[in-house]
Assembly symmetry: C2
Homo-oligomer: 145 residues x 2
DNA sequence: GTAATTTTGATGCAATCGCATCTTTTGTCA
DNA sequence: TGACAAAAGATGCGATTGCATCAAAATTAC
């Protein structure tokens, strides 16, 4: 089953790790410098906003954002402390929760978008040519579950 | 300068972050389960081994591995505690150091390679087609400094 | 030559992560 | 039904990260 990986594979692997770290770090740093929370907060809020009734269960958020269970649990702690989201009882499963979008969450989403977009544009999008975003997307799709 | 990013860019961005996290996490988890240290230790040892006299300065390691200064400083702490590398005085710059590869470091490199290779193969390389590794490499190169 | 600036590396402290485990509730199957 | 396994979330604790800052040496400027 195994054998030897070719040099191309190893190099692609190394570049994936390095490039992502480099770009994500630049974006996070830029957002933080402007007083914004980390990108994952934005992503989470966006998922909630896109959801049918502006709420999702943690399990669903885990799957969409690919977060680990304990990680998400703590992100929600912090966002709840900032009144961005609220934990509500889930009516159909007593084990579960609804994570609901609060007004302040919607407001942050709006306020953060220009900065987030600019950061992604500067540190990521601008470095690729026109068709390359889709090309990269297609390749990364194969790596996703 | 700015304007609006197209949906393709945003999606590619999101996939880059998610896919990398997903794959790196799987590889790290697998190595850890077999009792090995994190991949960055391997990468660092490999850089040292490839270096002319099996030693490099922290600044050089930072640049090659794209690590932050304080991060690298602490990684070296841990690796030094395990006798994998040693901090030596740098003869040409009294501020600096030589990080030297120790025998145990070389041994770990050898011992770890099969596991590392297998993990990368399983969680990354196997998911891409023959030419796609190079294709991905080329795209990621544009994101690197 | 000396003062100001930059570079290199370390570290205190607070925030975050990762693992393992716990509680509660659901689902399965005899 | 009743026992047993699986799923959803929370959390204690130790390890790691990130920021800010420090000290020491090299470089630059005057």
């Amino acid at each position: 089953m195994s054998g030897v990986l070719c040099a191309n594979s190893i190099q692609a692997w190394a570049k994936l790790v390095r490039a992502e770290a480099c770009v994500l770090d630049a974006v996070e740093r830029e957002l933080r410098a402007e007083g914004f929370p980390p990108p994952i907060w934005y992503d989470l809020l966006l998922e909630l906003k896109a959801a049918p009734e502006h709420h999702l269960r943690p399990v669903e958020l885990e799957a969409r954002l690919l977060l680990k269970q304990y990680h998400l649990s703590r992100v929600i702690d912090r966002m709840e402390a900032e009144q961005l989201v609220a934990r509500r009882k889930c009516p159909t499963d007593a084990r579960g929760l609804h994570i609901a979008l609060l007004p302040a969450g919607g407001a942050l989403l709006k306020k953060m978008w220009p900065a987030y977009q600019a950061a992604i544009g500067r540190h990521f999008a601008a470095k690729l040519g026109p068709g390359e975003h889709q090309q990269l997307s297609a390749l990364l799709d194969k790596l996703l579950p």
